[in-house]
C-alpha cells in the first residue's frame, strides 16, 4: 500500500498532536532556543542537564587519573569509571560489564574489530559480507581490510523499499565468509534490520569461526536493547556511540563476545592495557582494560552513564512509541505534499524515527538551507552512505530525525518549511 492509499484508508489528514516525551526544559540548548526545531538527532542528540551536570560534578569532586594513584581521590575517579561502565552495560542488557570496552564511538569500535580481529583472522580468499545500507564507518574498514588481506568484499543488496534483501544475503554467506557486518538500524533510511534472523542465517551457512558485527549507532539511542538476550545474544560485536544517545561526544563503546576479546590482540598499546612489560615481551591486562590503552575518558563515561540513566527513567519502550507516533505523523504529512518522495520501509514498524525524502525540482541542500531559515535543522546529503545513494539513484536526500525532545510542532514546522520551499522553487 502506498502512503497515499494508506492515508485515504485512515481518512482525512493526520492532525494528531504529540508533546515531547522529555521536557524541552531538560535540554539547555533547546530551552534557550524555543523557536528551534532540531530534527537532526540521527546525526547527534542534544544533551540534557543531567549529563552536563554529572560531568561537571565529576571534574569538580572526583577528578584524578584513575587506576594509577594510591590515594583516595584517584580511587574515587576509578570507582566513577567502573560504576559508569556497569550502568551503561546494564542499559544495554549486558550482565558482564567487562565485555563492554569504552571507545570514542561506533567508528572506533568498528575499526577496533576490523583491525584487532580482522588482521589476524581474515586472509587470502576469505570473504567479508557487508550491506548496501551501511554507514561508511561500517563499510570502509571492511573494504580496506579485504584489500589488505586479499579477501573479497561482498555487498548484500536491498529491496526497493530499503530493507536488506535476505535472499541476497543468504546467497552471499558461505563457508568462506569470515565476517558479516551490518547495522541494526540504518541512519539514512531508518530501516530496523532483523538482527536475530540474520545472525541465525549466518550461523547456519557460514563456518563456525565467522563473526557477526553489528553497527548499533542508530539502535542504542532508540530501542530497548538486551545484548545478552535471545534476539541479540548471538552477535559477536556490537558497536555504539554515546553522542547519539544523549551522552557526550567522544564516548561510546564496543560490546564483544568474551572468548573473542580474550584471544584477540590489543588494538592500541600503551599504559593501562598492560600487565607486565618486559624488555622483549609484554603481557596484557584483563578485559576490558586490554582494549583501553592510555588514560581513559572518565568524564565522558560518567556523562554517558547519566544519559543511560535518563533514558531509563523515560523508559525505552516509551521512547520507541513516541518516535513511532512522530514518524507516522511525519510520513502522513510529508507524503501529502506534492512532489515529495519518501524513502525507506513502508511498514513503519520496521523503521526508527527517520524520514528520508526528496522534493521534485529542489536539491536537498537547498531544502536544508531554506528550512534552516525557518529554524528547522535537517540533514541534507549522502548521510555517509554513498553506496546506498548510488543504489537509490539519487545524489542526496534530506533527512529529518526525531528523538525524545521532538514533538508534533517540529513536524508542523517541517511541513510548513517544505511548503515554502516548493513555493519558492515553483516554476513560473
Amino acid at each position: 500500500m502506498t502512503y497515499t492509499e494508506e492515508r485515504a484508508r485512515k481518512g482525512g489528514p493526520n492532525t494528531e498532536r504529540h508533546q515531547s516525551l522529555a521536557p524541552r526544559s531538560d535540554f539547555p540548548l533547546l530551552a534557550a532556543n524555543p523557536a528551534l526545531h532540531y530534527l537532526d538527532s540521527a546525526a547527534t542528540a542534544q544533551k540534557p542537564s543531567v549529563v552536563l551536570d554529572a560531568m561537571r560534578e565529576f571534574y569538580e569532586r572526583d577528578y584524578a587519573n584513575p587506576h594509577r594513584g594510591a590515594y583516595a581521590l584517584s580511587v574515587r575517579a576509578t570507582d566513577r569509571y567502573h560504576d559508569s561502565r556497569e550502568q551503561v552495560a546494564r542499559f544495554l542488557g549486558v550482565a558482564d560489564s567487562t565485555r563492554l570496552i569504552f571507545t570514542r564511538g561506533t567508528t572506533e569500535s568498528l575499526n577496533l574489530v576490523a583491525t584487532a580481529w580482522g588482521m589476524e583472522h581474515v586472509g587470502h580468499g576469505d570473504e567479508i559480507v557487508v550491506t548496501a545500507l551501511e554507514h561508511h564507518a561500517n563499510f570502509v574498514p571492511w573494504q580496506q581490510l579485504a584489500r589488505q588481506r586479499g579477501a573479497t568484499l561482498r555487498i548484500c543488496s536491498l529491496t526497493s523499499d530499503g530493507r536488506l534483501d535476505l535472499d541476497s544475503l543468504a546467497s552471499l554467506v558461505g563457508q568462506r565468509t569470515r565476517v558479516v557486518a551490518f547495522n541494526h538500524v540504518s541512519n539514512a533510511l531508518g530501516t530496523i534490520n532483523p538482527v536475530a534472523e540474520i545472525t541465525a542465517l549466518v550461523r547456519r551457512r557460514a563456518a563456525r569461526n565467522a563473526i557477526v558485527v553489528i553497527d548499533g549507532a542508530q539502535a542504542a539511542p532508540h530501542l530497548r536493547l538486551r545484548l545478552d538476550g535471545d534476539d541479540l545474544g548471538d552477535v559477536d560485536f556490537y558497536a555504539f556511540s554515546g553522542h547519539k544517545m544523549l551522552g557526550p561526544m567522544g564516548s561510546g563503546g564496543l560490546v564483544g563476545r568474551r572468548s573473542l576479546l580474550e584471544t584477540m590482540r590489543p588494538y592500541q598499546m600503551g599504559g593501562d592495557m598492560i600487565e607486565i612489560v618486559g624488555d622483549e615481551e609484554t603481557t596484557w591486562n584483563v578485559l576490558p582494560h586490554k582494549f583501553e590503552a592510555g588514560t581513559p575518558n572518565v568524564a565522558d563515561a560518567v556523562g554517558l552513564a547519566a544519559a543511560c540513566g535518563y533514558l531509563e527513567s523515560l523508559g525505552m519502550d516509551a521512547v520507541r512509541a513516541h518516535e513511532l507516533a512522530l514518524l507516522e505523523l511525519a510520513v502522513d504529512r510529508l507524503g501529502a505534499i506534492e512532489g515529495v518522495h519518501l524513502f525507506g520501509p513502508s511498514d513503519l514498524a520496521l523503521r526508527s524515527g527517520v524520514v528520508s525524502f526528496t522534493l521534485d525540482g529542489v536539491h536537498p541542500h537547498d531544502i536544508a538551507t531554506i528550512l534552516d531559515g525557518e529554524g528547522v535543522c535537517v540533514r541534507a546529503g549522502h548521510h555517509c552512505a554513498q553506496p546506498l545513494m548510488r543504489r537509490l539513484e539519487v545524489p542526496a536526500t534530506a533527512r529529518a530525525s526525531f528523538y525524545v525532545y521532538s514533538d508534533s510542532k517540529d513536524v508542523e514546522a517541517l511541513v510548513e518549511g517544505l511548503q515554502k520551499t516548493r513555493a519558492l522553487f515553483a516554476a513560473d
Binding site: G361, V362, H363, P364, H365, D366, T369, I370, G373, A380, G381, H382, Q386, M389, P395, A396, L424, F425, A427
Partner: protein, 157 residues
C-alpha cells in the same frame, strides 16, 4: 527570510530551472570532473579553447540550485575570456561569495562580475561557498591543463 531572498534571487532560480550551456560538448579540448565530497554532488565541465581564449564551456551534473546556477552563469561569463582574465574573474568571484568584496563600493569589480553578482547572497551562507565555486574550480583545472583531453582520452558518457 531576508538572507534567503538574497541567496535565492530570481536570477539564480531561473538559471537553476533552465541552465545555459548544459550538456556534453562535442570537440571539447578539456573535460574536468569535479566532486563535492560533502554532499556527493558531481559536475563535469567541457571547455573549448582557441589558444589562450575560452571559446565556450558547457557543464552537466547533479547539484543544488546554487551550484547549477553558478555553473550556468560562469559558462556565460567566461566565454571569450583569456586564461588570465578567467582566473582573475574567479578571484573576484571568490571574494564576492566569501564576503571579502563589497561590490557596491567597487565599481570596477561590479562591472567585471556582471550577472555573477546574483551569487553575492552566498557570502551569508559560508557552507554554500563550495557549491558556488565548484564549477569555477573545475574551470581553473581545465585552464591549467588538468583533467582529460577528449582527443587523447576516451570520455565516458
Amino acid at each position: 527570510m531576508a538572507n534567503l531572498d538574497a541567496l535565492y534571487q530570481e536570477v539564480i532560480l531561473e538559471h537553476n530551472r533552465r541552465p545555459r550551456n548544459y550538456g556534453a560538448m562535442e570537440g571539447a579540448d578539456r573535460v574536468v570532473e569535479s566532486h563535492n565530497p560533502l554532499c556527493g554532488d558531481a559536475l563535469t565541465l567541457w571547455v573549448k579553447l582557441d589558444e589562450d581564449r575560452v571559446v565556450s564551456a558547457t557543464f552537466q551534473g547533479s547539484g543544488c540550485a546554487i551550484s547549477r546556477a553558478s555553473a550556468s552563469l560562469m559558462t556565460e561569463a567566461v566565454k571569450g575570456k583569456t586564461r588570465s582574465e578567467a582566473e582573475e574573474l574567479f578571484t573576484t568571484f571568490h571574494d564576492l561569495v566569501t564576503g571579502k568584496l563589497n561590490v557596491d563600493g567597487d565599481a570596477s569589480a561590479k562591472q567585471r562580475l556582471g550577472s555573477l553578482r546574483a551569487l553575492g547572497g552566498v557570502s551569508r551562507f559560508p557552507i554554500r561557498v563550495k557549491c558556488a565555486s565548484m564549477a569555477w574550480h573545475a574551470l581553473r583545472s581545465a585552464l591549467r591543463g588538468e583533467g582529460s583531453s577528449p582527443n587523447a582520452v576516451a570520455v565516458a558518457e
